[in-house]
Subunit: 513 residues, 2 copies
């Protein structure tokens, strides 16, 4: 425990209540956007599972006095569902993958990676493992880091004629996400690309059949993509980061081999670890699943990003504690294998947490409207070049772009659930025994700022990235790229303006921490 952070409470009680309402409202919009025109709930193609009897669970529930069928769209959620890939964890476990694929009966495996990972030991291990089991495979190594719809379509075009009966992804989140979509569109060869993309940008069609087996071998300790049914990409035409999210996209097995993360440079360890930090903090502070509307009319429509729930909480909080403890060690000492191993575990735990609860302002929920504050931060880089990244063009790594706004975000969300924000601050070693509820956001923000400063080489706010007040409007627009789509929905325009005002203040607050 470090000493209690000194806080000058900025808020009096009535102001605190307003702040709480504001934070909850924005979180609800960010986590659970559901315009009445959402195709996911109006397109008849998505209701072909509903059956003919016309009695939804809510009609049945009404008999028991819970609700009438008419108001089901206003009903809050009453259940949550936890799903995660099987996870194998161990130093050297990569070498088992040949036997795994053989055990599955795979005769034609699409190995998906990027050109960098293709030269690393992880891919050598994979090739050896497949060769020694005589598994037939072909390597696609042209995955783009931070994939775009165009790069994903190129990968799909490669996959379709190959006709894989199993997929093997070896790399970071970009590789694993791309492999998920190669698998999806190979199994639905006639689908239009936008069919499965999250509404409202795409049609939000649910994945209603099992895909081919996919084994994911992560080479970073960050995205947690090996456990989730989420794939994220940049939809260039809409200037938006969006994705496809469904439980059936989950890998069959994630092989977490800490030896594969040893090659990460220290700066990459830091930024991927900050991704883990924000995954765990955002899912831990997400609005609870019981506050989500509408209650799904069919379980297949229940989203992966459901809001915080009692099982995701366990994962998120454990991942947060581990990250606070092991990330600094892992960044500072390349020989600290214990810390690297624990960070790989934390990344996976956080993946299970956010993969079932969702994320919010830093990342945005990725399945719905906003792209999150990190998207325009990375995408509209005024020219910042992050230390330790040996690339030719300016870069704000994903983890850096999510963490840089985190102090401002959690200062803002504090009032929505002070207890959780204080518990999170406690994970950073803050003594919260005498902390005031009104200061919860401030306390967590300070703990985060101190953690980032101690980690080293992290920007102390948007200003150090080169952003100024002249960029704020652009950043806000980049966070809610589908503003016009939303404004078509009756009743939402005013709320949207309020939301933009809040985001404006959030970006201003994130200028320096």
């Amino acid at each position: 425990m470090v000493a209690a952070v000194k806080v000058t409470p900025r808020l009096t009680i009535p102001v605190f209540k307003q702040a709480a309402t504001r934070a909850v409202n924005l979180l609800r919009t960010i986590q659970f956007t559901h315009p009445p025109s959402c195709p996911c709930h109006s397109n008849p193609n998505h209701h072909h599972h509903h059956g003919g009897a016309g009695i939804t669970p809510f009609a049945r529930r009404s008999k028991r006095g819970y609700a009438t069928p008419q108001d089901s769209s206003q009903l809050k959620e009453y259940a949550f569902e936890m799903a995660a890939s099987s996870i194998r964890f161990g130093n050297g476990a990569t070498q088992e993958v040949g036997m795994d694929l053989k055990n599955m009966g795979a005769k034609r495996v699409a190995v998906v990676t990027d050109s960098t990972v293709d030269r690393l030991t992880a891919m050598k291990q994979v090739r050896d493992a497949l060769d020694s089991e005589n598994v037939t495979y072909k390597v696609f190594n042209r995955v783009r880091v931070e994939p775009k719809d165009t790069s994903i379509k190129e990968a799909i075009d490669w996959a379709k004629p190959f006709g894989a009966d199993a997929f093997l992804a070896v790399g970071g989140g970009s590789v694993i996400d791309t492999a998920k979509l190669m698998n999806l569109y190979s199994c639905y060869p006639d689908a239009d690309f936008l069919d499965f993309v999250n509404a409202p940008l795409g049609k939000g069609r649910p994945v209603d059949k099992k895909l081919k087996p996919l084994i994911a071998v992560p080479t970073t300790a960050g995205t947690g993509s090996e456990t989730t049914g989420v794939a994220i990409f940049d939809l260039v035409s809409k200037h938006a980061k969006t994705g496809i999210a469904h439980r059936n996209l989950k890998p069959t097995l994630g092989i977490c081999d800490p030896l594969n993360t040893q090659t990460m440079p220290s700066a990459v360890k830091a930024s991927s670890g900050l991704d883990v930090l924000c995954h765990s903090l955002e899912s831990w502070t997400a609005i609870p699943y019981t506050e989500r509307v509408p209650r799904p009319t069919n379980p297949i429509l229940r989203p992966s990003y459901q809001g915080a729930n009692p099982i995701s909480d366990i994962f998120s909080l454990n991942a947060l504690k581990s990250t606070v403890k092991y990330l600094p060690r892992s960044v500072k000492d390349p020989e600290d294998h214990e810390a690297q191993t624990q960070m790989m575990l934390a990344a996976t735990l956080a993946g299970v947490g956010f993969g079932n609860a969702g994320v919010h302002l830093c990342h945005a929920d990725k399945t719905s409207t906003p792209s999150g504050m990190s998207y325009p931060i990375s995408g509209r880089n005024p020219g910042y070049q992050h230390a330790g990244y040996e690339v030719d063009t300016p870069i704000i790594p994903h983890g850096v772009s999510v963490a840089v706004s985190a102090p401002a975000v959690f200062r803002f969300t504090g009032p929505s659930n002070p207890e959780r924000h204080l518990q999170a601050a406690e994970c950073f070693g803050v003594d919260v025994s005498n902390a005031k509820r009104e200061s919860a956001g401030e306390i967590l923000a300070d703990a985060l700022a101190k953690f980032l400063a101690d980690l080293g080489d992290q920007p102390r706010g948007l200003k150090e990235l080169g952003f100024g007040s002249e960029h704020i409007e652009d950043l806000v627009e980049g966070t809610i790229p589908q503003a016009r789509v939303l404004m078509l929905a009756p009743g939402l325009a005013k709320e949207l303006q309020q939301e933009k005002d809040q985001l404006r203040r959030l970006f201003e607050d994130a200028m320096t921490h």
Copy 2:
């Protein structure tokens, strides 16, 4: 926090070290029995996945300096694998099951239950849900509570000609376990019953293909069977409790609806909750996976019961904390729905924990040699009739039979891992800040004894069940029913005698707590 338990240390340090060695050795035998003649590792039929190249991962590992291929049977485990069913949790979630089966495309569903549950609301909900989605199904309601091989074979004989394309189990652990085996043997119609039964009683054949979808709807908060790949039964001819354990037996989905547990009488709530308590305590204190030998030569041979690992630990410890907090409330107040809900969650969490780590002395590992101390306690009942169970014949409910020996068991296992035993005692509210490591087992035993006494209506040891010193030999033999099988294995005879001595002392110690 209650006041620290006063302990008179019974052990001096050198004696403590001996006790530690003794406890570790017995735990190792109980958790990870692997006689050299274990069919699972010698029967060539089980190696048909190994592939032709003849290079095992350990041969490859040897190149990297870890080990030589020759000694792979002595190598300790280096990886663990976590798998759990998807879990849906919510009051009333049972009514979604019709849509789930329809979503899966099921056209012919085998609904498995017992005659009691068949009359409860849970089955009414299930029938309504299936009818309203026009799902074709047939109900098998003759599952035997505490199934025997004979009752399971009867169920399999019903299932094979029915030709289900999906299974739905509605009931306690007996029902869910029976449904798993109906599914297994319907998918392997030509297999002999003993083929898949755990070695050495059966042939320990791995389940090498996907089975039909199975949805489990538990009606008790105890077994956690909805999340595990384990099915337990009494193999009558061998006087042994054994089972079949493989990840592929896992239900596709567990629907945990706390409304289904409202009908449990208070005494049933208590005994099923004690099952959860022991699942969580045993898996938390199990020997770590890295101490298990042999390292599997193919990942398909990695057992579900792997030993404690960093992910199972999270589940086990959370389940333990919840059980200590909510079980007494749930037993004392039938209207305390929060406590019932939390106990259902705890049962599932404990299921994920022990389903991946295993259990030990109270339950035994269920996949290997010993039946655990609970088996002969229940099976050789001298005539005890547990309060609150309205049955004609004497009965020691499963949860009672595991908990009655728990104080003696954890007093014995304490030296094997004092830190974990102290952490467990802390979950019971004991202040362990000044506790001595040598007293860890004693402290946990006392906390357990106090918890059982406060819960009410629990026997204060084997004596109150009617057992005396004259029964001990019989209880020991019942715990290790395959003694003769084991004694055929060279080198084990002496160890077995030592093990029996230890069990004798354990049963003596369990006479009164």
